[in-house]
């Protein structure tokens, strides 16, 4: 219990560090959108309704480089399709009327989802919703960009965060095998497919979970 509480506190601290990073990216999204000629209102509405950084950056840069509307929508759809498996993984945390579940589900983003993950398929609802709200405010609020987030190395912070949250989940052999396979699929597809596709394809590695469920359990 005390280690559970400690990891909860650690989660809250991590949320604050991530929120600072996210607000930086939110601000630079606004800046990029404005310089791409999209004005101020449309990017703001987009942040409030889409709330998914990578897809928003993709849309703005495609529209800004005279790419078509269809290409922009297609890129965003591919990038955000990962939220189908992600939202399935936390589906059991959501209760109540459908409309409420639909609204609360919008707080799912990579970072709030990852931080709330507790291993063994468990997720902390308080951390997911709390982190989601903090990150939403940070992303939409954004503020003024002080420069390129890449200059501060902030793009290197996200993979390290996901790695830190992955490592404790690798206790079991099946988890290790599935993570390895998922990572390998993503790596193999990255050079050949549009961004977003490798993550969705990697989800196939979860089918390793079928291997034992049909048979009686063994202790080996």
């Amino acid at each position: 219990m005390s280690s559970e509480a400690a990891s909860y506190r650690d989660g809250i601290r991590a949320v604050l560090a991530i929120a600072a990073t996210v607000s930086f990216f939110g601000a630079s999204f606004g800046l990029l959108a404005r310089s791409s000629g999209l004005g101020i209102i449309a990017p703001l509405v987009m942040s409030a309704t889409t709330f998914a950084g990578s897809a928003q950056f993709a849309v703005v840069s495609i529209l800004g480089t005279s790419g078509g509307a269809a290409a922009a929508v297609a890129a965003a759809v591919l990038l955000n399709a990962r939220y189908v498996p992600i939202s399935i993984s936390v589906a059991s945390l959501f209760h109540g009327p459908r409309l409420r579940r639909l609204a609360e589900a919008q707080l799912i983003v990579d970072e709030s989802w990852a931080i709330s993950s507790r291993g063994g398929g468990r997720f902390d609802r308080r951390l997911l919703v709390g982190a989601g709200l903090v990150l939403y405010v940070a992303w939409v609020g954004g503020g003024e960009a002080l420069g390129d987030p890449r200059d501060l190395g902030l793009d290197g912070a996200f993979p390290a965060l996901f790695l830190a949250l992955l490592v404790p989940q690798l206790a079991g052999a099946r988890e290790r095998a599935a993570a390895l396979l998922g990572g390998a699929i993503a790596l193999a597809l990255t050079p050949f497919t549009p961004a977003g596709t490798p993550i969705v394809a990697a989800a196939v590695a979860c089918l390793l979970g079928l291997s034992r469920s049909g048979r009686p359990k063994r202790n080996s």
């Binding site: 939202s87 399935i88 993984s89 639909l102 290197g156 390290a160 996901f162 992955l166 979860c206």
Partner: protein, 101 residues
């Protein structure tokens, strides 16, 4: 006009993606066979996110300062550093390598 069309379509698609699990499956327990698969979603998707955020570009591999950031992050994780320290170490290493190279 085009901008608003794109903004609306992307919003509708994303809202639907995020709501898929909670709206269709929320508040009920899954069959045992499906559970075995869903339990693996977290490690698998986290591993895929680590890979794509480290070396991902649009349709190509990009090896850059992010690799150093993940390396520093991994060292901090191995030293059992708390999460915020891991994140800050990774950002610092990425920024440093980007300045130097």
């Amino acid at each position: 006009m085009t901008v608003w069309l794109v903004v609306s379509l992307v919003a509708v698609a994303t809202i639907a993606f995020k709501a898929a699990g909670p709206v269709l499956l929320g508040g009920r327990s899954l069959p045992i066979g499906v559970r075995g698969v869903v339990v693996l979603l977290a490690p698998v998707l986290l591993a895929a996110l680590v890979v794509t955020q480290t070396v991902g570009g649009d349709g190509r591999l990009v090896l850059d300062a992010r690799l150093a950031g993940v390396g520093a992050g991994a060292a901090a994780i191995a030293a059992r550093a708390p999460l915020p320290v891991v994140v800050i170490a990774a950002a610092a290493a990425t920024a440093l390598v980007r300045v130097v190279t």
